[in-house]
């Protein structure tokens, strides 16, 4: 019996990332552009994807990630949107194996955009790649303008940031300058679109950006 030391240097996320690459390849084969929507519970993730789909004249698909329930999926199916549900049963984020199981439940018969609504959480989803092309960060003015400072990783990793509920600006103390300053320290390139799910304003611009980015 003897002791030996072995260098390993293996990233803990390696297996997840490997499956994420596989998911991404599968989607690319079907010409599907995937958007990972991250944001706190109730920030407006479902509202935003509904509004973006209205403005995108491109086939849309949705995977809904929730700890429990299929409320959001039912809500989308009522609008004839091809949607499927992942329940994580306690896990606070989606990971690539979960998304891998779900992509085979969607038809992908036409090229289009797939929205993957992550579990409502501003922390953990940012740490896991799920095979997406871009990450959309959903924040709302009711979340508070200090969020870039408190949850930097989500802002750092976002490719597009959607600031929702601007119809509520008169009622909340949202310091936009402080908010934008925090974002720009973390992320020089992501556009920030100000929208309201209540009035529908701002979504046309966000959808136009997305369409161009997706190459449609």
């Amino acid at each position: 019996m003897h002791m030996m030391k072995a260098d390993v240097m293996v990233d803990i996320h390696a297996r997840n990332n490997h499956i994420a690459e596989h998911v991404h390849e599968h989607l690319a084969e079907h010409k599907i552009f995937a958007v990972n929507i991250m944001g706190a519970p109730g920030a407006g993730k479902t509202t935003t994807l509904e509004n973006l789909l209205k403005h995108l004249d491109v086939p849309g698909y949705v995977i809904e990630g929730d700890i429990e329930s299929n409320i959001d999926t039912e809500r989308l199916r009522k609008q004839n949107i091809a949607a499927t549900q992942i329940n994580t049963f306690g896990a606070c984020h989606l990971d690539a194996p979960l998304v891998h199981n779900a992509i085979h439940a969607l038809p992908f018969d036409k090229p289009g955009i797939l929205f993957i609504e992550n579990v409502g959480n501003l922390v953990c989803p940012a740490e896991f790649s799920i095979g997406e092309d871009i990450k959309l960060l959903q924040v709302s003015v009711t979340d508070g303008s200090d969020k870039p400072y408190k949850y930097p990783l989500a802002f750092e990793k976002a490719d597009i940031i959607v600031l929702n509920k601007i119809d509520l600006l008169p009622y909340v103390d949202f310091d936009e300058e402080f908010f934008m300053k925090g974002i720009r320290h973390l992320n020089k390139t992501a556009p920030v679109f100000k929208v309201s799910g209540k009035t529908g304003e701002g979504y046309a611009e966000a959808a136009a950006w997305l369409k161009q980015r997706a190459g449609f």
Partner: protein, 116 residues
């Protein structure tokens, strides 16, 4: 909850190394940046339970933490971020994020190996 699945990955990675070398794991050295999103204490807590019945059973887990650093865009120096501030303590310039502090990997393992 959050650390449970990643602790499973850690045990898998270490066990795989042990299997390749026909040994058992006695010690794992893990590097966890403070901005990795994972808490060392929490991984430590799950580890014994998950390691039970695997090649990692009874192994010790050592966790090296890494403090996150920003890099100043003006003078290029690295520094630790203060709350609600990105300001460089050397020149007052703006700091931008770096990979330092986001580490999350198994650095090495110590194995007990049968003599051939």
């Amino acid at each position: 909850m959050h650390e449970y699945p990643v602790t499973v990955q850690i045990v898998d990675i270490a066990s795989e190394t042990a299997r390749k070398n026909n040994g058992r794991v006695r010690r794992i050295d893990l590097v966890v940046g403070e901005d990795s999103g994972f808490i060392g204490e929490s991984i430590q807590m799950y580890f014994d339970v998950i390691a039970e019945g695997t090649l990692c059973e009874g192994a010790q887990l050592f966790i090296e933490g890494v403090k996150p650093q920003l890099r100043c865009e003006k003078c290029g120096k690295h520094f630790e971020r203060k709350r609600f501030s990105f300001q460089c303590p050397y020149c007052g310039g703006d700091g931008e994020p770096t990979p330092i502090g986001k580490e999350f990997y198994v650095k090495s393992v110590e194995l007990e190996v049968e003599d051939q």
